[in-house]
Amino acid sequence: MGKKEVKKTFCGICGPCCPINAYVEDGRIVSVEGRKLNPAQGGGLCSKGAASKQYVYNKERVLYPMKRVGEKGSGEFERISWEEAYEIIAGKLLPIREKYGAKSTIFYTGYPKWYRPALLRFANAYGSPNYCTESSTCFQATNLAWQSIYGNHICFPDMMNAKTVMFWTSNLYHSNTPMSKMYQSFKKRGVKTIVVDPRNTATSCEADIHLRIAPGTDGALALGMANVIIQENLYDKEFVEKYVHGFEEYKAYVETFTPEKVSGITGETPEKIIEAARLYATNGPAGISFSACTIVHHINGVQNYRAVQILPALTGNYDIKGGNPTMAGVSSPCNEYGKVKRYNGEEAIGEKDFPVWFDLSCEEAQCTRLADYILNEEPYPLKAMVAFGFNHRMWPQPEHLQKAVKELDFFVNVELFLSDSSKMADLVLPACTSFERDEVKVLKGGRFALAQKAIEPLGESKNDIEIIMEMMKRMDIHDEVLDQGYENYMRYILEPSGLTLEELRENPDGLQGKVLIQPKERTYEEERFHTPSGKVEFYSETLAKYHDSYGYDGLPVYRDFRENSEIDREQYPLILSAGARKPHRFHARVYRIPWLSGLEKETLIEMHPDDAARFHLQEEEEAVVQTPAGEMEGIVHLTINNYPGVVHVYHGNKNGEANELISKDYLDPISGFPGYKSYFCNVRKKTEGGES
C-alpha cells in the first residue's frame, strides 16, 4: 500500500468551482468527495464533479506539446518539446504582428476561466484590442442588460434574507446542485418562491407559483407584471421619483401590456400573472435570481432582460438586504478579477456591429461573428489566434467557424483535450486541470483559499498562467505583474486582503481576509448611478443614442420572435431550444467522460408527447431535426416536462450538434447573442415516407 493523502482542492469543470477532497494514493487520484466551505454548500457534488477522476485521467488528454503535421483538421500531430513550441510561437506571431499589426492576433479564452486576467494582460502587452471570451455567446449580455439600467455589475439576490425569491429561468437543482440544501431551506424558512420556466423542473415543482411561459416571451411577462404593479399602486413611488429616469415613458408603454394581452403572448393565465406580480411587489424584501444566459439566448434577449431587471427598482428591492443588493455580505479586496482593463486604443472586432457592448464595457471584444470577421477580413485582416480552450461548438453553425479558423496563418490552442477545435490548430499545448496546480481562490464572505495541487501534472502539461508567462518571455513582451513569476502572481492577487500565501498554505480550509469591507445598503444615496443620466434608466440613453443608426429602443420594447416574417412557419412549425440545462452536461467537454455520456442516449431530441403524436414520432425512434440553417440526426425522447410545441436538444455533441441548427445570422441586434433558445424547426422520421 502506498501513501494515502487527502488533498484539499477545487473542481474546475464548470463555473462554480466547488471545493473537493481528492483522495490520493501513490501520486494518483483514487476518488473524490465534496467539501464544505460555507453554510450554503451541502458538502456534496454534482455528477460532473463526481466524475473528476475520468476528467483528469481521460484518454483524450493532451499530454505533450503537439505540432500539426497533417492537413488542418486531420488530427495528425507529432510530439515536440516545450522549447520548440515556444520558438514556433515567437517565430510565427512576431512577424504577423510586424506585418499586419498586433490587432490581427485574436486572444481567445473558453473554459476554464481562472487564468483570464493573465491572458488579458498578455493581449494588452502584445498590443491587441481583440481579447475575447466564450462570453460572446454566454453571460455578458445578461450583465450588459443590467448595466444599461443601473450602471454597475449585475446584483444577485440576497437569498438568505429574502421573503420572496423569483427565479427567472433557472433550474437550480441542476445548474448548481451543491447548493440544493439552501434551496430546500426556503420552504422551512417560509420564503415564497416564484419560478419562471417553460419547462416543468425539480425547481418549478417546488415553487409557490410557477409561471410557465413560452420561450422568449419573458419581456412580455415582465411588462405585464409591471402593468399590475403600477395599476395597483404597488410600486415604490419615492424611489421612482427620486432615482428613476424615463418612468413616464415606461409607464405609458407598460399600460398596453394588460394581463389579458400578456396571457395571449406568454400562454400563462392572467390570474397567475397578477398573483405573481402582487406577491413579488408586496411580500418583500424580494430578490430576483437571474440565470446566466437563458433569457439572452433569444433575439430580443437584452430588451427582455431589461424588462425583467427593471422590476427590483420599480418595487424598491434594489440595493436592500433581502432584495438585489450591490454588496452581498462582507467582502475582502483582491487584485486581478474584474480589475484588468482591455487595451482599447484601436477598434476591436465586433465594435461596429455591437457598439453598446463596448459602451457598457465588459473589457472584452465581441466575437460572436468571428467566422465572418476572419473570412471577410472585417474590419481588418485577422491572421492569428492565441487561444486557451477554444471550442467552436460555442458558436451557431460551428462547422462554418471551423472553416474560417482554417484560414488563419497561425493558431495555437492550449487545451486539456485533443478536441475537434484543436485539430484545426498548428500547435496544441497541454494545459493541466485544477487538480494539478496551486491556485488562489477568491470565495464568498471575504474568504480566500489555496487550491492545493493534488497530483503532479500529467505528462508535460502545465498551468495555463505559466504557459502565458513563458510565451511572453520568448517574445520579449512584458507586463510588470506577469514578469514576476507564478508564485508572486498568487501573492499579488492576495495582497490587498492582508493575507499571505504562507498563511493560506497553512490553512487549507481557507481564511477570511484581514482587510474587510462591510456591506452597505442604498449606496445610491451617496453615489450617483453610473449611467448617462446618473439615475436608474428605465429609458436607456445608451441604447436610445443608437435609435436612428441601429434601431435600438431606449425602452424595454418587446418584440416577438414568432413574428419573424422571413421564416415559413408551415415548414417549421416547432420551436427549437438548444442547450437548456442538463445536470450531467456542460457544453462539449464532458461528452468524453464515459460515466456521464452513458447516462442517456445521444443525441436526444426531446419532445412533448402531443407534438410527437402530431408528427407520428415515437419514443427512441431515429429522427431528423431540420431548421432553415441545417439538419441533425438524433433519437426522439418524449417528456411531459417540455412546453408543448418546443423541442429541446443539448448542444456540444460531435455526433449530433444542436448549434449547427441555429443560423449564424439569427442574433440579438444589441448583444450579438444567437437565439439559441427560440429558433424554428420541424422533426421527421429518419426514413422518409415511413408511416407509423
Binding site: 456534496g44 454534482c46 455528477s47 463526481a50 437543482y173 441542476h174 440544493s180 416543468n200 445536470p583 464515459p594
Partner: protein
C-alpha cells in the same frame, strides 16, 4: 443493525451524482463500461405533469438475503450491511425479483452483484459515496440506536 442507508425518492432531484459517485468509489477511471450499483428509473408525477430520472440504490433491507437458498448473501455484523459472497452464489436469481429497489445485477459469470455500502469507507469512519455526494438529502446514512 447499527447503520441505516435510506433513499427518499421524493427528495431526489435527478442529478445523477450518486450514480457517478458510486462508479468513482468502486472503479478506476479506465473502467469505461463499469456499472453503477445505483439504477436509473423514470418516475412521473401526473398531478404536476413532471417527470424525473431518479437513481434508487440498495437500502440494505435484507430481502435478497432472506430469499437466497445458497446462503450467499449475509449481514456484516459491525455495520449491518448486506453483502454477497460470490463464491457461494449459484446464479439462481432468486434474489433479483424480491429486491424492492430493483438494483441487483449479475456479472458475466452469472454471479450476483450488489452494493457493498462502501464498507471500506465505513471502516475508515467515512460514509458511503452515494450518501456523501447527495446534495438534496435524498440518500442518508445514519447510525441507528
Amino acid at each position: 443493525m447499527p447503520y441505516r442507508l435510506t433513499f427518499d425518492r421524493s427528495k431526489c432531484v435527478g442529478c445523477y451524482a450518486c450514480h457517478t459517485a458510486c462508479l468513482d468509489a468502486h472503479h478506476q477511471a479506465e473502467d469505461e463500461n463499469a456499472k453503477s450499483h445505483r439504477a436509473i428509473q423514470r418516475v412521473t408525477d401526473e398531478e404536476k405533469q413532471f417527470e424525473k430520472n431518479i437513481c434508487p440504490g440498495c437500502i440494505h433491507c435484507g430481502a435478497c438475503m432472506r430469499a437466497c437458498p445458497a446462503g450467499a448473501v449475509y449481514q456484516e455484523e459491525k455495520t449491518g450491511l448486506i453483502l454477497v459472497n460470490q463464491e457461494l452464489c449459484t446464479g439462481c436469481r432468486a434474489c433479483e425479483s424480491v429486491c424492492p429497489m430493483h438494483v441487483i445485477h449479475f456479472d458475466e459469470a452469472g454471479k450476483m452483484e450488489k452494493c457493498d455500502g462502501c464498507i471500506d469507507r465505513i471502516r475508515e469512519g467515512r460514509q458511503p459515496a452515494c450518501a456523501g455526494v447527495c446534495c438534496a438529502g435524498a440518500i442518508t446514512w445514519e447510525e441507528t440506536k
